[in-house]
Symmetry: C2
Subunit: 479 residues, 2 copies
């Protein structure tokens, strides 16, 4: 027996390297927790410079781990952003973006196509327990809910929390005609628990579910996707956080998210899982500033949710895995799509080989062995490529207001606007004239990228009255 051990060990190695999807030993596979806020702006955490929102737990997470300065969601609104995170692909590849509707509606007949491979599916394939908690927004029909996309369990609201809004309370007996009513259905797995849940309790209940899931799976690898409903307008927080923040209601809401994240990290420490769990905190898109002080802040960045300036898509991003992740501030580029590729590699799962994957493996930057391999970011508005960042430069081919009446006019720039995001992160000073070479390079990248995008069936436009798709006027601007 003793003499056979080395050979058995060697055979096992061969077995894993040939048949196993990756050579990551099962014991080394980390748990993965992604905490995803909704509409949280780049400048809304204390560790990103907000003066009046106190986020001591996330600040500590940043100190113990990494705080990324140039991390992007793949879209400026909910549905495409979430599709990209879970598939590692730009939303244009899965048909999950459109001019109108910009996100799935309560009437949408489908959702994320079943042909897409989600991170949950990939990790489940290699033995991970998987759960989605919170806002889904990738399909309301029962066969498009998380259970159909690789998640063993689901608990949350299937779409945005303003979508069950009762527009005419005066038509309902017993309702105060002057009040707002949000009838978001709370679902467990595929069953509606509460047709109109009390949103004040959502953050608290999501956190409790997350803690429970972690406790139940402390002895096996797990993937938890905790997609908070907050701080998307309308804003709600539990009684404990009423008046908690100097920032008012918005601050209360963010501080409750901070507290929830802290509870999760505490539990991981308590269960001795901290050194084998990767925890990521980020947000789906920029702040919803049309709601004034009920919306967040993009800090020094220009733009907001819905637009392709930095404020619309650059997000807070914290990575935590004590003992493995090298603490510090990371200024390389990253994207939520990279979470797909990075986690698949780390967890020994299989990267889909039959389709274009836009995510890259961020491991070198996370472990301090090298730079982030991401050098390019594409900024879409609906199905149209508006801007491209390559290295420190970003070219805007089109610009447009995020919301409001003016949002039906887009400006096509000749030559494109060019900003040096290193020297000018706020996108104030057009340097196109000084860098024709950079512009030419980015134009080539954009053209190549567009050639590589295979047309697919659009999911958002399904069931949407074509006559309600607005005409957008394009104005040519010569510079």
């Amino acid at each position: 027996m003793i003499s056979l051990l080395p050979r058995t060990f060697a055979l096992l190695l061969v077995f894993f390297s040939v048949l196993g999807p990756k050579s990551v030993a099962a014991a080394d596979r980390p748990n993965v927790v992604i905490i995803y806020a909704d509409d949280l702006g780049y400048g809304d955490l204390s560790c990103y410079g907000h003066p009046t929102i106190a986020t001591p737990r996330l600040d500590r997470m940043a100190q113990e781990g990494q705080r990324w300065t140039d991390f992007y969601s793949a879209a400026s609104v909910c549905t495409p952003s979430r599709a990209a995170l879970l598939t590692g692909r730009l939303p244009i590849r899965s048909g999950m973006c459109a001019e109108e509707p910009r996100v799935l509606t309560t009437q949408s007949p489908t959702g994320l196509p079943h042909s897409e491979i989600t991170l949950a599916e990939a990790l489940k394939d290699v033995g991970y327990a998987t759960m989605c908690i919170g806002k889904w927004h990738l399909g309301r029909p029962v066969d498009y809910l998380p259970r159909s996309q690789g998640f063993d369990e689901y608990f949350g609201l299937p779409y945005s929390n303003d979508m069950g809004w009762i527009r005419h309370p005066e038509k309902y007996p017993g309702l105060d005609p002057k009040a707002d009513y949000y009838a978001g259905p709370l679902i467990r797995d595929v069953t509606v628990l509460e047709p109109a849940t009390d949103q004040r309790l959502l953050t608290k209940r999501y956190t409790a579910e997350a803690l429970d899931f972690i406790r139940r799976h402390k002895d096996r690898p797990f993937f938890l996707y905790l997609a908070h409903t907050m701080p998307h307008v309308p804003l709600f927080r539990s009684e404990k956080f009423a008046g908690h923040s100097r920032r008012g209601l918005y601050g209360d809401v963010v501080e409750e998210l901070d507290d929830g994240a802290g509870q999760i990290l505490d539990l991981l420490r308590e269960l001795h899982l901290d050194r084998k769990t990767l925890v990521v905190f980020s947000s789906d898109n920029g702040p919803w500033m049309i709601f004034h002080e009920k919306g967040g802040s993009a800090g020094l960045l220009c733009g907001e949710k819905g637009g392709t300036f930095e404020g619309g898509m650059r997000e807070p991003a914290l990575f935590w895995w004590p003992g493995t992740i090298k603490p510090g501030v990371v200024r390389g580029m990253g994207s939520t799509m990279d979470l797909f590729t990075t986690c698949i590699k780390l967890c020994g799962a299989k990267l889909p080989a039959d389709r274009q994957i836009d995510g890259v493996d961020l491991s070198p930057a996370l472990f301090g062995t090298g730079d982030s391999p991401r050098d390019t970011m594409f900024y879409y508005r609906g199905k149209k490529l508006y801007a491209v960042r390559h290295g420190r430069y970003k070219a805007h081919f089109f610009t447009r207001q995020a919301y409001g009446k003016k949002a039906l006019t887009e400006y096509e720039h000749h030559p494109p606007l060019l900003f040096d995001l290193g020297a000018d992160p706020a996108e104030k000073f057009n340097v196109a004239a000084q860098h024709p070479d950079v512009l030419a390079k980015i134009e080539t990248i954009a053209a190549e990228h567009k050639r590589g995008v295979i047309p697919v069936e659009n999911q958002l436009e399904k069931g949407f009255p074509p006559e309600r798709i607005p005409k957008v006027k394009t104005i040519q601007v010569e510079h």
Copy 2:
């Protein structure tokens, strides 16, 4: 002898409490180092959220100490701001502010009045070695230089680094007519060392002087006021920092300041002085944004250097004193004027009793025993009170562009604009109509404050041609 000791000790206690300025035991008196940047914006450090300026040493200082979110200089331009820091008094009380010139010029015949008591004088009185390094800007005549204001030693430029600008190089033989020449004189004590110093070496040389001063005084209490010339435009950095930052030249300059601050903290640790030295890092006013990417960023704040919106006067502020200062983020209000009062109390010096002092003792907030006692901040433009903050609310009686042609028009608001700096730190949403009580309270505070200001001789206007003082047009705005 033995039996006499307790009595001697008791007598000594009586002696110190009656005759000594304060009952702080000599051994407990901390050294004080104030590092003061020039025109550094609220958003320009990595720990205040800047994405592309890397300030790892100041970030660590913030982590080991306190990072204040609501800390103010007492003016939005150099001279009055520095007068306030060193006297603990609003510049209006010392005659160190004016509509024009806004700062002392190279032609000004005086400077900070000798009747003012500076922090250096107060600390020197109780045995501190004192040194000023860097930009002075409180008087160019020899009897107004730092040596006449309580500093044992001086090394630096007497005013801003753009003030020796040679406007017409074509008139000088040997000078490139297309180049910029800045002829800032470098002074040691009262002697001009170099009539036109190489500004690329200033930060490096200032830091070296600071390290030398600390080494020379390691065995006795010292006060070092290190007022960097940078990042005031024109920007210069040493060869080592050329191309150091993603943020370009401005970033290079700030990263060299960061490096210098780190060297000072390292030396304090090496000499075992870290646990008996209070180090403060701040800036004199907001970023000079008229210089585009050569100017800094106020982060999410509105406004810039020269104006009374938050970006003009709210500053980064770090406090470091390992073992004594309670680490964390402090959201109470503070001001550079408070450094005067706080240091005088901590160092057992004497607080002037014959004049109005505007500084308060921040010790409760620094030591974690209570909140900052500061609840009000006055925002002057020249000699005119433009705005008042009380608690979380700020009322603007007047607003005005910081620079440019439009800066000759001021707007007088009826009622004043009111911003809730807690919920709305970017001063976007006027809430005057919702809070008439708050407005009335602030108007009372402003009126009382103005009654308490004793007219004094103005120092800035001396020698300035009255015909060059521009007429400002006031436009009444009804809301």
